[in-house]
Symmetry: C2
Subunit: 146 residues, 2 copies
């Protein structure tokens, strides 16, 4: 029941982009050094974030990435979806709780309910929420472990 580090990196990177970008394109190089994530790996992530219509790319010198929408409209579950981590807890079930077995297996309701809670919680948090928190924390301590 772990979230992949890929998804964790994606969230962190998005907060960093939202916090330090401010409308202007921010190069991955900046995020990479600030968050101590390998540039090559970030590239991989941002391709997916772009395809998920969460960021837009600006090529050439002075280029980088910009949020595709205001931070208030970007939910955490969207970020995780983009990097291709499923939020459904079992592989036999799709996003809407439909299963290969209908709903006949004994634990169907457990996994379906669990998936719904996870989705509900992660969709209740926006990038703007995280960015605000990060700005407050930055005043006191600087720590970038996770």
């Amino acid at each position: 029941m772990r979230i992949s580090t890929k998804a964790q990196y994606a969230v962190r990177a998005m907060v960093s982009l939202s916090l330090h970008g401010e409308g202007k394109p921010l190069a991955l190089h900046d995020i990479a050094t600030r968050e101590a994530i390998s540039l090559a790996y970030l590239e991989q992530l941002f391709v997916k974030l772009r395809r998920g219509r969460i960021v837009k790319s600006v090529r050439g010198p002075g280029g980088g990435y910009v949020l595709a929408r205001p931070a208030v409209e970007i939910r955490v579950d969207e970020i995780i979806d983009s990097v291709e981590e499923s939020l459904v807890p079992v592989s036999c079930m799709d996003d809407k709780g439909r299963c290969v077995c209908g709903d006949q297996c004994v634990s169907h309701a457990v996994w379906q309910g669990l998936g719904e809670r996870v989705r509900q919680f992660l969709s209740s948090i926006t990038l703007a929420d995280l960015t605000r928190d990060a700005a407050n924390k930055a005043r006191t301590v600087l720590s970038d472990e996770c």
Copy 2:
């Protein structure tokens, strides 16, 4: 964000035990054939379930496993804990939300909140709930995919 099949098997096996055991020891062989799970694998699971004080073993001929407590007192999260799957979504955090970074990382609150929801939901369901559902379903259809 997937639950391991190990945990899924554990839940299914426990429902099967609770449903067909009725006080008497039920041999793993029975569960294995009924649920189409390999006996060797089930043995591995039940050692852990026993150490988690969820079942008791009865050795010798006519032996098997019995619930260690009434089904109403066995929660689904306990079953999953026993087979050693963590319900905390990130590896840097323990059960109580304590982190290597205090609570300084930007997404700390996200993962902590997520872990709490998962725990809360899975601890709200008991083996008795699942057994009752299974008994109802058995009347209409028989399907054991999951």
